[in-house]
């Protein structure tokens, strides 16, 4: 039995990401932190799908009325994770474009040195 180790890993991933977001002053590191939180949440969703000794929820050449129906893991969390990953890509693309713009304006990625605008 591995008990709840995967869930502990989830908590660890989210916390590492949150640490980067809260304490790091570099924009790229903050972005990395947000993607780490996202990976943690995705891992949480996908671990929820697992049932002991189960296979992937795909029927290979058999139907539900066959004799040896395999024991399958839960399909809904897979679908949710898929959605969440695509959303993560979208957010990441937008954040990086904003970081590029910020770097062009201020010439730095340090959060503390931003501000003092030209306007």
């Amino acid at each position: 039995m591995i008990y709840n180790i995967p869930f502990i890993a989830v908590a660890a991933l989210v916390l590492i990401g949150l640490y980067a977001v809260v304490f790091k002053r570099n924009l790229i590191k903050i972005v990395i932190g947000i993607t780490l939180i996202e990976s943690g949440v995705n891992l949480f969703l996908i671990t929820l799908a697992y049932r002991q000794d189960s296979t992937a929820p795909i029927w290979h050449g058999i139907t539900a009325s066959s004799n040896n129906v395999p024991f399958m893991s839960l399909p809904v969390p897979h679908a949710l994770t898929l959605t969440s990953i695509v959303i993560g890509v979208a957010v990441l693309a937008l954040m990086l474009s904003l970081v590029i713009h910020i770097y062009r304006h201020y010439g730095t990625l340090n959060v503390n040195k931003l501000g003092g605008d030209e306007e």
């Binding site: 977001v21 949480f44 957010v91």
Partner: protein, 528 residues
């Protein structure tokens, strides 16, 4: 088919169409804009008008007492609920009306306001997407679907906040907004996963029916409320709000007000519907006094609300940038809503509670209209003078007569003066909060007076006063902007003159939906 049957069919499908039409419009906009700019603008306005038609059609039926459900991909509900469904009750319909009005005003306003800019095809696409996202959040009956629409709204609004990419502050505000909302949304997803892990369901009604209030549910409740309140701009996490409101183009700010309130709607949905059946449960008995969940939650919300109001008003006093000042006033107004809802929560089940909830809900729509109007006026001034700082304005009333009138209406409404709509809702809030705790009510009234003082000062310095030499040949803004501001002003005055009508027909169903979640649950669970 006669007209009644057609209307009936449209009514049955309207929950899906309300979201699908702006989405389809958004997908078509890049193609339509190949023709020319005018056709594109007309197309966008027509799309929003069609959406509004369906919203009002649906709302008129929902306010008559029906709850609409719409299952995607199947004719009937089946148990277990595997499919996504939309569930529209009084609260959802009420919020959808706000989003509809705001988006209509925003696109009309943009016609002239944004004319000088490039990239308008994408701008209108994103406006439609943001509208669709807000409406989806308000109508959905599925937790994960709520998360998806939350993300659509925040991604679209982040790109729009940073619209003026040549200004560093705008880009910075956009980054702040996307970082905050991405983290908030991820924690919402985490809480949804916690709920899913226990009950193997994602539907709000099913979850509300099964919820046991275990330790994990408590964690999920705290995470959901904290994350959504962060997106709604409640005080410890309000830092992003003045930046985002202040730097975005005015028409985008108007939609952002709606997006903030969609998050607020999320808080209400979670507190009152998802955990609604657990609200009366006793948490602990300390030496004879029982602490129930609703009183604890209500007290926390009331404290946060008072702090929000105080900080909003105090910061508004200090600002010299017009839009930032209004943004802090918006923070204070959000505090008033929370104050009323918190007061309603502490006294759940009594007549006072019902009055408080009514006041809070009525104030949601009033806040959206009042603050929205002020932002539009600020945008109009920026359009005419290219100034944002109050120090550089003066004597604008001479050349901008209509804008001055609209500003006066907005000013009186925000400060809660009769005969505007703000008075109607704030008097309800003061009355009910006074019965909970007189001190709170007095603080709220004082802050309201301070807000009036803030805006009177602005009115005096920017609109009256000596004319600035470089603002001599300022012209009145174009017609489309006046139409948008006029639309909102008319609704404000109408609400102010007939508050009873509005409270009885629109606010009461929404307040009923907050006060009890049994009809919401039985609509889904009671079918079989």
């Amino acid at each position: 088919m006669n007209i009644e049957q057609i209307l009936d069919t449209l009514l049955r499908h309207s929950p899906a169409l309300i979201v699908a039409i702006p989405l389809l419009g958004a997908f078509l906009t890049p193609l339509i804009s190949k023709i020319n700019d005018k056709v594109r603008n007309v197309f966008v306005i027509l799309t929003i008008l069609a959406t509004n038609f369906f919203i009002f059609l649906l709302a008129s039926d929902v306010f008559a007492g029906n709850i609409h459900t719409y299952v995607f991909g199947a004719k009937n509900l089946s148990i277990p609920v595997v499919r996504i469904l939309f569930e529209v009750d009084g609260l959802s319909a009420f919020m959808a009306i706000i989003a509809g009005i705001l988006s209509l005003a925003a696109v009309i306003y943009s016609w002239s306001f944004m004319k000088e800019n490039t990239g308008l095809n994408k701008f209108y696409t994103l406006m439609l997407l943001m509208t669709a996202g807000m409406l989806g959040m308000m109508l959905t009956g599925d937790m994960f679907n709520f998360f998806v629409f939350l993300e659509i709204t925040s991604i679209a609004s982040c790109a729009l906040i940073a619209f003026w990419t040549n200004k560093g502050k705008a880009v910075e505000a956009g980054f702040k907004y996307i970082a905050i909302s991405a983290i908030g949304a991820l924690f919402v997803l985490f809480a949804i996963a916690l709920l899913y892990a226990q009950y193997d369901a994602l539907n709000i009604a099913v979850l509300a029916n099964n919820i046991q209030y275990t330790f994990l549910d408590k964690i999920a409740l705290v995470i959901l409320i904290a994350a959504l309140a962060m997106k709604a701009g409640i005080v410890p996490m309000h830092m992003w709000l003045p930046d985002a409101y202040g730097r975005a183009p005015a028409s985008v700010t108007l939609l952002l007000v709606g997006a903030t309130q969609a998050s607020l709607y999320g808080v209400f949905r979670v507190c009152f519907t998802l955990y609604g059946s657990q609200l009366n449960s006793t948490l602990r008995n300390i030496s004879g006094t029982t602490i129930t969940l609703n009183s604890l939650l209500g007290t926390i919300i009331v404290i946060l609300a008072i702090v929000t109001i105080l900080i909003g008003v105090m910061m508004a006093l200090k600002q010299i940038d017009f839009k930032r000042m209004i943004a802090y006033a918006a923070v204070a107004e959000i505090g008033y809503m929370f104050l009323a809802v918190g007061a309603g929560l502490t006294t759940l089940g009594t007549a006072v509670s019902m009055n408080a909830l009514k006041g809070g809900i009525f104030h949601i729509i009033n806040d959206a209209l009042d603050v929205g109007l002020l932002f539009l006026v600020a945008g109009a001034i920026y359009y005419a003078t290219k100034q944002t700082s109050l120090n550089n304005m003066g004597g604008l009333a001479r050349n901008m007569k209509y804008t001055t009138v609209f500003f006066l209406i907005g000013l009186l409404a925000v400060a809660g003066m009769p005969p505007m709509n703000g008075f109607a809702s704030k008097i309800l809030i003061y009355e009910s909060v006074y019965q909970v705790n007189p001190v709170l009510s007095i603080v709220a009234i004082l802050c309201s007076i301070l807000l009036l003082a803030v805006f009177i000062k602005v009115f005096h310095s920017a609109f009256l006063g000596p004319e600035q030499p470089d603002l001599k040949d300022v012209k009145e803004v174009p017609k489309s902007m006046l139409i948008a501001m006029g639309l909102i002003s008319c609704i404000i005055i109408f609400f102010g003159l007939f508050p009873e009508l509005v409270v009885n027909n629109i606010v009461q169903p929404a307040a009923n939906a907050l006060a009890s979640n049994t009809s919401y649950i039985s609509q889904v669970m009671g079918v079989i």
